[in-house]
Amino acid sequence: MSVMPRRITKAAVFWQAGFILLLVFALVLAVRNIDANLARAGISVSFDFLSSHAGFDINESLIPVSSESSYGEVLFAGAINTVVLSLICILGATFIGVVMGVLRTSNHYLGVRVALVYIEVMRNLPKLLILLALFLAAINTLPPVRQSWALHDMVFLSNRALYFPALEAGSGMRLLIVFACLWPVSLFVLGRVARRIQDTSGAVYPVFWPVTGFFAAVVAASVLFGWVDYPISYPVLQGFDFQGGHRISIQFLVLAAALSIYHGGQVAELVRGAIEAVPKGQFEASRATGLSFLQMMRLVVLPQAVRIVVPPMGNQYLNITKNTSIALAVGYSDLVSVMTTSINQTFRPIELMTLSMGVYLAICLAVSFAVNAYNARVSLRGG
């Protein structure tokens, strides 16, 4: 990094001292002005308000929140909403992006052109426009709650939300939670074992399907023979809204769709770049050994492309996480939207913005940590 060996010169001392003085001066001035302005409004910086009664409800959250909750609780619910929305959008954008990126590099005449048009349109439109246009289209075309589109009287879609049956807490729920934890663990452990066997004897044992099938069979049997009970609540129309079941607001659905297709275009470009960076000989060699297109992609090309794509993909995931903040434009209660409502009610911008920026920085650090860890795993190791 350093171009010249560092030596302390008079000029360096002078410039740095001047810079630090200027910075301190600006900071002191800003803080004094903030203090004076807040004093005129009769408040001072303090985080005590977090435990006081917020008085507004948020439209959906994974933790129980009501109009009785405190500011701290609604902000936490908003942060969880941001994380959930980010995860869904990351999954959606990755799926769309990989499909479109592979299409773009295929030699299928229609596929290449469809992917090209998709990527170019997404590259040249602002995400907010996509979001607002989709939201408007959804509100205009979907029916009001009382005339919801119904699927077997179990799943309902209206211009307010998607309603579907939900599993209530019970022995069945506990079984599913235990299995959901056991499934990846056993995949990991058995995968290790299978790999060791393959390394020593060369025998190949399948892991994924047997393990998944075993768990699926136990769950299916438990449903069939009633070993555990699965209490399910169905959405039922009562008055002006549905009761029971689970609901996902139309805002969440539109946000997830808009951000997934917007970032899908950018992910597709990354995937295309990575696939094109894989040497041509790898493609020819795998076709020569008789692999099909999908086998070639899955076993030869994509594993190599992943190494190239991980660092920019990490950046992309960070962008998705930050871009979920446009949720405010359609009124979904993410962190920023809860923050602005709180600022308007309490006029505590300093405290609330510091907190929210801290949350975003923490999320970004966590994502980049995860990406770096994954990168270290997939990158080539010497020796």
Partner: protein, 364 residues
């Protein structure tokens, strides 16, 4: 070479030809070569046909013609073009006084022409500073008025296209030099405290969403001002945009700075150039050229993201589009308004990305 070629019979031109493949064979081979290809062809073909059918039907076949009376919109299922004819001035210029809208128009054209001129490589020098000083001043005078017999228009009524162009272009024009300075501050090692500040600033800004920075400008920046000074929302937004984009420019230029060979630094040092001369004459020109694709990407992204100012209540064309269909008698025609905005963005972004491709092809 010549010794060998004398012994080897020379192949006559046209003796070896690629087998001719007819169009039908080509189509069959590419689109229906395998079961997978055929399936893909059928699925994509159906999607394309459906999309084209719906688009043509909505845009043309069952739409109300632009010259039709407004009432005819209620009877058709497709797009309502009389709405666009009626509201295009509102979408472009918002609530700027109707009779004065030629000023908004002229100001927008001025900015677009200035951008076009700045794109010419022969203008990539000190003349840009003069150009943009003049353009900025004339834009301000045209929009605000109060001089030369122009009526005063308060900044709250500046709407639509000129606001979008102003925030996007001036935001970027000011952010770029700041970004380059930040990047230089990050790249040097003589002044560690300034370097630490640059790293902290860049990473902090890049770690939070743009809306967060816009809200900082809206809520916190006015609090930092001494008593009696109030900032207009347009100004605070502009400042927030400059703060935000400069961090991204700094990141874009960093790659270029890092790729300038060490020999260039050493050669400049051995010529006795000082830091400023070395940076201005040797290092920066090479670094900027190398990071041009990244810079243009940043510009494109920043331009598109300027639309987010709608969320903090600035009226760019997305907001005026919403205004146009908030009118109760036109409330069902929001998609037409957004389509117009979309076409504007598609056209301008396409120009920007073609320019960036042309620039890349020209320098490589």
């Amino acid at each position: 070479m010549s010794v060998i070629s004398r012994d080897v019979p020379v192949m006559k031109e046209g003796a070896l030809q690629a087998p001719r493949v007819g169009l039908v064979q080509q189509v069959r081979g590419n689109l229906f070569g395998s079961k997978r290809d055929a399936l893909l062809t059928v699925v994509l073909g159906a999607v394309i046909v459906a999309a084209v059918y719906f688009a043509v039907d909505w845009l043309l076949l069952s739409a109300a013609a632009p010259w039709a009376p407004a009432e005819s919109c209620a009877a058709v299922a497709g797009a309502c073009w009389p709405f666009v004819v009626e509201k295009y001035r509102l979408i472009l210029f918002g609530t700027y006084p109707y009779v004065e809208q030629w000023r908004s128009f002229l100001a927008s054209v001025l900015l677009i022409v200035a951008v076009a001129v700045s794109m010419l490589p022969s203008f990539h020098n000190g003349r840009l500073v003069w150009l943009w000083s003049v353009v900025g001043a004339s834009f301000y005078v045209l929009m605000r008025g109060g001089y030369f017999g122009l009526d005063y228009v308060q900044p709250e009524r500046w709407n639509g296209l000129p606001v979008l162009l102003m925030l996007a272009i001036f935001g970027l024009v000011f952010a770029f030099p700041v970004g380059v300075l930040l990047s230089l501050a990050r790249y040097q090692s003589q002044l560690p405290s300034i370097r630490a500040f640059a790293v902290l600033y860049i990473e902090l800004v890049r770690g939070v969403p743009m809306i967060m920075v816009l809200f900082l400008g809206l809520f916190v920046l006015p609090l930092m001002m001494p008593e009696g000074i109030t900032l207009s929302p347009l100004l605070t937004t502009m400042i927030a945009l400059v703060f935000f984009h400069s961090a991204y420019f700094a990141e874009a230029v960093r790659g270029g700075l890092q790729s300038v060979p060490r020999g260039q630094h050493e050669a400049a040092d051995s010529q006795g150039l000082g830091y400023v001369q070395k940076t201005r004459l040797i290092i920066l020109p090479q670094a900027l050229q190398r990071s041009m694709p990244e810079i243009m990407n940043t510009v494109l992204g920043a331009y598109k993201d300027t639309s987010l100012v709608v969320i903090i209540g600035i009226h760019d064309i997305m907001a005026t589009a919403k205004m146009a269909f908030s009118d109760p008698s036109w409330q069902h025609y929001g998609l037409e308004a957004y389509l117009l905005v979309g076409i504007w963005y598609l056209a301008t972004c396409w120009c920007l990305s073609s320019y960036s491709r042309w620039l890349e092809a020209r320098t490589s």
